[in-house]
């Protein structure tokens, strides 16, 4: 299934900037970055729980937020892109 992960990390402090880097670094292991704070991950429920657990441990729940959107298996018609960086095949390699 396609899972969209979006995040807002409060980067007012150095520790916040560190959290942001750590969140992004984890997400890279699970999917494709399609925008600065948006990742598309094709994964099963177990992998999804795994990344969720990891990200929950990184963020400061009082300051940062994570959102997960479950787009199912028939997701290709559910996503539309306009503008720069139309460059990702979430199941494959980076197409530039």
């Amino acid at each position: 299934m396609l899972v969209l992960i979006t995040y807002d990390v409060n980067t007012e402090t150095e520790t916040g900037k560190r959290r942001l880097r750590r969140v992004a670094k984890q997400c890279v292991n699970y999917g494709q970055r399609v925008q600065n704070s948006v990742f598309e991950c094709v994964m099963d429920a177990a992998k999804c729980r795994e990344v969720k657990n990891k990200l929950e441990k990184i963020i400061d729940k009082d300051k940062d937020s994570l959102r997960f959107y479950y787009l199912g298996n028939k997701y290709k018609s559910k996503v539309e892109h306009i503008g720069a960086k139309e460059s990702f095949d979430v199941e494959g390699t980076l197409i530039i």
Copy 2:
């Protein structure tokens, strides 16, 4: 239906910062801001075309990107939030 709008606007220049403000200002008219660059909009296809046209005219397609995710009508189970600012009922008022 629920439409998720995410955007990346290149704010390296003053005109970029202006585009970002204009994109956000338009999105506010169509839905709820759930993260910095993520809006959830409950709207029909006509409204969706409308906002898409407006946003397309604002962005610089070489530098900025917009993504639209169509989550259909049964979206409540498809969205999960962790952390700060779990504060939005997309069909209703702001819940704090």
